[in-house]
Subunit: 112 residues, 2 copies
């Protein structure tokens, strides 16, 4: 089986992370758990992908980060979406809708 839908979701990981951060500040592990819940365990980000994506988003000015002040448990790095990040999220959503339309035309539907 290997990577269910992984190559099809590529190019949307930024958008997915931004989506959750648009709702509230969060950290990697939590977001990934939410992704797993929303997809009934069908999809989750590889940790390496998760953290490189955060890095990329931060480098692009779409998010900022700070260390949480947990007094118990493992330390957490929280992320906050910026205004540029919200704009990028909206733009990515538009692009996704467009890509979806195009793919629907191109792929047709070969399911029986």
């Amino acid at each position: 089986m290997a990577g269910i839908a992984s190559d099809m979701i590529r190019g949307n990981t930024d958008t997915i992370l931004l989506r959750f951060l648009c709702e509230k500040d969060s950290y990697g592990y939590e977001i990934n758990k939410q992704i797993l819940e929303l997809t009934d365990g069908q999809y989750g980000l590889n940790e390496a992908t998760l953290y490189t994506t955060f890095k990329r988003l931060e480098k692009n000015g779409y998010i900022t980060s700070y260390w949480g002040d947990e007094n118990s448990g493992a330390r957490r790095r929280y992320y906050t979406v910026t205004e540029a990040g919200r704009a990028a999220y909206a733009e990515n959503c538009r692009e996704w809708l467009n890509a979806r339309t195009l793919l629907e035309r191109l792929i047709k539907d070969g399911t029986d």
Copy 2:
């Protein structure tokens, strides 16, 4: 601007080419023109992508190829989809529908 939807379509190029070949034998240039028509010029495969994809499909046993016998104009390499190719197309379509559902949940809709 650069690549509109290019990274979102990655992982679907095989499926797109198979779709056209499921309808009839065809060759690279023609398929790419059909893609451009269907998308109102919004999307077309890079030539390098086009031909490496054909190679991959042939290596995987999803298509076979033969030289057309044009008596005028540039030579054309035609491709034929195999039974395995049709099965792969159907399976890819199912995966696409699934990925689309997951993405719809994950991305929500941040368009205004």
